[in-house]
Each structure stands twice: as structure tokens, then as C-alpha cells.
């Protein structure tokens, strides 16, 4: 059974990178996700349904297409990519940050959906009550709204993280499969099963992948349950 733990340096790099990419994809998309969920749940504006469709688009279009769109937008010569690279020195193309961006985009619909559902479920009269007690909009959000949607936020974060761990199509299209830079668990596994003698390594990484996912799901269930109990005051 020693082969199970005999990770090569490349494999360990892929595992670490995968975790890093998933973590930053989740964390980076969180503030945007909360803002968009707020807009969709409470906003009254022209083009709201269009925004809703755009947010959900990565769920339905092929990941390759998403990756290609990202390449067009955020590539070196891309509309946004060129501006970011020239003005701010931020480069996504063929970097691990690009992998994180691809994962963030793919997980975004799940994140927004989860937060939006819990926002819709909030008793808004509680916010009115906080208002009559003197709290302004900002305080109401921080002390009432945010704690009450915490279970939804946690669930959304886990979904986003899990989606990022499994992301393949958009990542490989957008940032390719560069060991040490953009090679995550799925792309590493994909590469290993292409080469002769890579089966064992592929199996190892597959087991790691399953272990991380299960751990994340167990942890999230526990966290969400605790948060829900807290919110319901039990």
C-alpha cells in the first residue's frame, strides 16, 4: 500500500495548487457574490432578468466555451486582460490566478443562488424593526441581514469551493495545463492517464481528490448546521 502515499513532487504541487486555486476562487468571488445576490434579491432595476441570466450562464454553456470567452476577455490581448496587464500589472493568462478566475466564474452561479435563496427567505420585517431602533442601512446589514443569511453564505462558499476543485474545461481552455503554474488536480489526472505508466499516479490523485471533496462536504454540513441553529436561536 506504500504506493498510496508515494507522492511525487509534481503531484504534491498539483494538490497544493488545486487547494490554493479553489480557496482563492471561493474567497475572491464571495464579496461579488453577496453583492450580486443582494441586487437580484432586492434590487428593482432595468435588466435584472438579464443579469440573472448572465450569472447563471456558466451553469448551462459548455465549460470550454466559458474558458474561451475568458481567454477572449482576459487573455493578454483580451479586452480586459490588456488593460489590466498594462495599467495594473495583473495578468491572468497562463497563471494560477487565471485558473482561480476560471473556477470562480464556474462556481459563481452556485454561490449567488445559495446566498440569494437565503436572502429571499429572510423576514424583512426584522430589518424594519432594527430601523425603528435607530440602526442605519449599513448596521442593519451587518448585524441583522448578514448573520441571518450566514448558513446560505457558507453553503454557497462550499459549493463554490467544490466546483473549483472539480473544474476542468474552462481552466484548461483558458490557462492550459502547465505543471506548477496552472496544473490542478483534474488537469493533472487528465494528463497522467494520457501518458503510459501514469495510471498509478492518476489513481493516487483521484483518491486525494475524493478525500478533499468529502472532507469539505462534511465540514460544510457541520458548519451550516451550527450556523442554522444559531440563526434560529436554538
Amino acid at each position: 500500500m506504500s504506493w498510496v502515499l508515494a507522492f511525487s513532487p509534481e503531484e504534491l504541487t498539483a494538490i497544493r495548487l488545486s487547494l490554493r486555486v479553489a480557496f482563492w476562487a471561493m474567497l475572491g468571488s464571495l464579496p461579488v457574490g453577496i453583492a450580486v445576490a443582494l441586487l437580484l434579491s432586492r434590487g428593482q432595476f432595468w435588466g435584472k432578468s438579464l443579469l440573472n441570466v448572465i450569472v447563471h450562464l456558466p451553469l448551462v454553456i459548455p465549460p470550454v466555451v466559458t474558458g474561451y470567452i475568458l481567454l477572449l476577455l482576459f487573455g493578454r490581448r483580451g479586452l480586459i486582460g490588456e488593460f489590466l496587464a498594462d495599467r495594473l500589472g495583473i495578468v491572468f493568462a497562463f497563471r494560477w490566478t487565471g485558473a482561480a478566475l476560471a473556477c470562480a466564474v464556474m462556481g459563481f452561479p452556485l454561490l449567488v443562488r445559495s446566498i440569494r435563496l437565503s436572502l429571499d427567505a429572510i423576514d424583512r420585517r426584522l430589518e424594519d424593526a432594527a430601523g425603528t431602533l435607530g440602526a442605519n442601512a449599513m448596521w442593519i446589514f451587518v448585524t441583522i441581514t448578514l448573520p441571518l443569511i450566514l448558513p446560505g453564505i457558507l453553503a454557497g462558499m462550499i459549493l463554490s469551493f467544490a466546483r473549483a476543485l472539480g473544474e476542468f474545461g474552462a481552466t484548461i481552455t483558458f490557462v492550459s495545463n502547465i505543471p506548477g503554474e496552472t496544473q490542478t488536480l483534474p488537469t493533472a489526472i487528465y494528463m497522467l492517464i494520457q501518458v503510459p505508466g501514469g495510471d498509478l499516479a492518476a489513481l493516487r490523485l483521484t483518491l486525494v481528490s475524493i478525500a478533499i471533496s468529502m472532507l469539505a462536504l462534511f465540514a460544510s454540513e457541520a458548519l451550516i448546521e451550527r450556523a442554522t441553529r444559531r440563526v434560529q436561536g436554538l
Partner: protein
């Protein structure tokens, strides 16, 4: 001092109401759908009326003509909601102190303890709202509104979602609130028993309009308002003082300006003040001082006003030493006794007619006959 004049359309319903109220407890009374809650929501700044002007203590909170609308959070109006609306994720203590973070003036030291003590919620502080009974929730909600240092307290049917026992549990706390704090209270209710027990001033609302405003006893003795204040529960309100206890027969004598009333024993100290509601249907009329009668309460007076009706019963207002008393008789009796305004009569009230709902300011669980044992 509260001054309200509001016009607001909600679908087919037009709210067009104006009233002024001062210290003490002002009850907005009316059937469900008469616009009471919309009116207090306008006062609290939770709805923005189409037209209107709202002032509290001279400060303009809403004035649509001058485009003034102070947001709810800056109004310093404490609001006790029908469903409590406690924050479920916070403990009772955190709920109570929530408004204090924002209160501009800190209030005296010991105020928190005083409010906690007054509402009897000291044991609940560490709990969360999900573990409280309905009555406890409402007491915490009242405390939370009070501790935000409001200049006016609005209570929207705070007892409506509670059963009778919980209501009796909370009413004394609201009375203490009214009497011990200098904060004017606007109290929305459709329950006449609550209103007559608590209210200093009564605003009667009907179909979005104010039908009458005045001191509670005066409003309750207006025969013309009975269709709005409730026929079945119509009756006069007298201020009374506990004068004597008769332990042998278990009776208490209450002294009112209209005369003494003997009622089932009340666990109150001598001299305690309370309000007594005497239902019109519990009052009989005699032309001479009755003899050989079991009823213990006989108040002399004169007929002041006889209500007009085509139905079998007639409401009349008596003047008993300057106090109004309402009696409901059959039209036949009125005719056969020859009752006309100015006629000297004797009002007869059975002691047992006083049940716990008839008293305000009394301790909870006042012994008295149950509603069912009253004579028909």
C-alpha cells in the same frame, strides 16, 4: 405631544385620518382593516404617506408639502410589533441593548436594570427568542423599544397573538409602563377590554377615518358611537378607589364619584386606584329605590340621553352625580317605565357582573366571576 394628519391610498382603501394626542396612553381603536396599523406605520416612518404632516414634540417628522421625511431610524419612536420581531440570532440581552448602541443619549445608570426589573425578564437574559413563550417575547420586545430611548412608544396590537392568560399576564406591565415612564404611548387595538383598561385618550377609527377622539370614559359613554366601539361590550367607565374589604362575605367596596360599588373581593390595598367598566347590559333601571332585591349596587341618577333605535333594545346614558353610566333596556321597558330625559331613576348592578375584564389597574388574576356566570 403627537400631531398626525395623513392621507394615503392603499389599493382601494383610503386612509384619511388626523388626530392629536398628549401624555399617557392613546388608543387607536377600530375594527381590523380600519387603517390603524397604516396610521402608526406612517407615524413611525415605515410608510411614506402621499400627503400629510406628522409632528412629535414639535419636531416635524413628515411634511409632504415641504418634502420632509425623517427616516424611521432617526425618529426615536419605539415600536412594539404585534409579532414581537425579536432578532432570532441574538440573546434576550443583546435584543434589549440593540437600540442602545444608536441612542444619542445614554440614559441614566441603572435604567437597563430598571426596565428589566419592571418587565420581569431578568431570568431570560441569556436565552434566545426561540425559547421564550409568547408573553415573554412581548415583554422583551417592549423592553427593547423602551431602551432605545424613544420619545414616543408605538404598540401595534401587542397582545393580539396571545391567549387570554398571557394577555392578563402582560396588561399590568403595560399599565406600569404608562404610569412610571414619561413616554407617551400610542396603542393600536381592536379589543375594547384592553382599550378601556389602558387608554387615557381614545381615537376611534372607522374605514380609514377618525370617527371620534376624546378621553376614554367620555368616548365610551357616547351612545352614538356604540356601533363602532362595540354593542355587546358597550358600557361606562368609572374611576374608583378601594375603600373597604369585607372579609366575611368576600367583598370589596369601591368608591366612585357615582357612588359605592360592592364587587367580589379584590386583592388590592386600601386606597388603590382602578378603573371599573360597567357594561350596559349589566345595568337595570328602577324608578324607586328597590327593596328586597339581591343586587348590592344601587346608584341614583337621572336619565341624560336615550339612544334612538327601531330594534328591541335601547341604550341610555344616565347621569349619576356627574358620572356617565350606560344602561341597556328593552324598548318596551323604556316605554312602560315612562323613561324620558330628566327622569330620576336608580341603576341596579349585580356585584357578580364585575369580572376580571371589568377592572383596570388591578393586579393580575383578580378574583372575580367568570364571564359565563354572569346573568343574561
Amino acid at each position: 405631544m403627537l400631531s398626525v394628519a395623513v392621507q394615503h391610498r392603499l389599493g382601494d382603501f383610503l386612509l384619511d385620518a388626523a388626530f392629536e394626542s398628549g401624555a399617557g396612553l392613546t388608543a387607536l381603536f377600530g375594527r381590523s382593516g380600519s387603517g390603524k396599523t397604516s396610521l402608526v406605520n406612517a407615524v413611525a416612518g415605515l410608510i411614506r404617506p402621499e400627503r400629510g404632516r406628522i409632528l412629535v414634540d414639535g419636531a416635524v417628522l413628515t411634511d409632504t408639502a415641504r418634502r420632509v421625511f425623517v427616516p424611521a431610524r432617526q425618529r426615536k419612536i419605539g415600536y412594539v410589533f404585534q409579532e414581537g420581531r425579536l432578532f432570532p440570532h441574538l440573546t434576550v440581552r443583546q435584543n434589549l441593548l440593540y437600540g442602545r448602541w444608536f441612542a444619542s443619549r445614554r440614559g441614566q445608570a441603572g435604567e437597563v436594570e430598571h426596565v428589566i426589573d419592571l418587565l420581569g425578564i431578568a431570568e431570560l437574559l441569556a436565552r434566545r427568542p426561540a425559547n421564550l413563550s409568547g408573553g415573554e417575547k412581548q415583554r422583551v420586545a417592549i423592553g427593547r423599544a423602551l431602551l432605545a430611548q424613544p420619545r414616543l412608544l408605538v404598540m401595534d396590537e401587542p397582545l393580539a397573538s396571545l391567549d387570554e392568560a398571557r394577555k392578563t399576564e402582560i396588561l399590568p406591565y403595560i399599565e406600569r409602563l404608562r404610569d412610571e415612564f414619561a413616554i407617551p404611548i400610542v396603542y393600536v387595538s381592536h379589543a375594547i377590554a384592553e382599550v378601556t383598561r389602558l387608554a387615557t385618550t381614545m381615537v376611534v377609527m372607522s374605514e380609514g377615518r377618525v370617527a371620534a377622539v376624546g378621553p376614554t370614559a367620555e368616548i365610551m359613554s357616547r351612545i352614538g358611537l356604540f356601533p363602532l366601539t362595540g354593542q355587546a361590550e358597550a358600557g361606562a367607565i368609572l374611576s374608583a378607589r378601594v375603600a373597604e374589604h369585607d372579609t366575611r362575605f368576600g367583598l370589596t367596596t369601591l368608591r366612585t364619584a357615582a357612588g359605592d360599588l360592592r364587587v367580589p373581593y379584590m386583592d388590592l390595598r386600601l386606597g388603590a386606584q382602578l378603573r371599573v367598566r360597567i357594561r350596559a347590559r349589566d345595568v337595570m333601571i328602577a324608578l324607586q329605590p328597590p327593596q328586597g332585591l339581591s343586587a348590592l349596587n344601587i346608584l341614583p341618577g337621572t336619565v341624560a340621553e336615550i339612544g334612538e333605535t327601531d330594534g328591541p333594545s335601547v341604550d341610555m346614558r344616565l347621569d349619576c352625580a356627574g358620572q356617565p353610566l350606560i344602561a341597556r333596556l328593552t324598548r318596551r321597558s323604556v316605554e312602560s317605565l315612562g323613561l324620558v330625559p330628566g327622569r330620576r331613576v336608580y341603576a341596579v348592578i349585580k356585584s357578580i357582573a364585575f369580572d376580571h375584564q371589568a377592572f383596570g389597574g388591578a393586579a393580575p388574576g383578580t378574583p372575580g366571576a367568570d364571564a359565563d356566570t354572569r346573568h343574561g
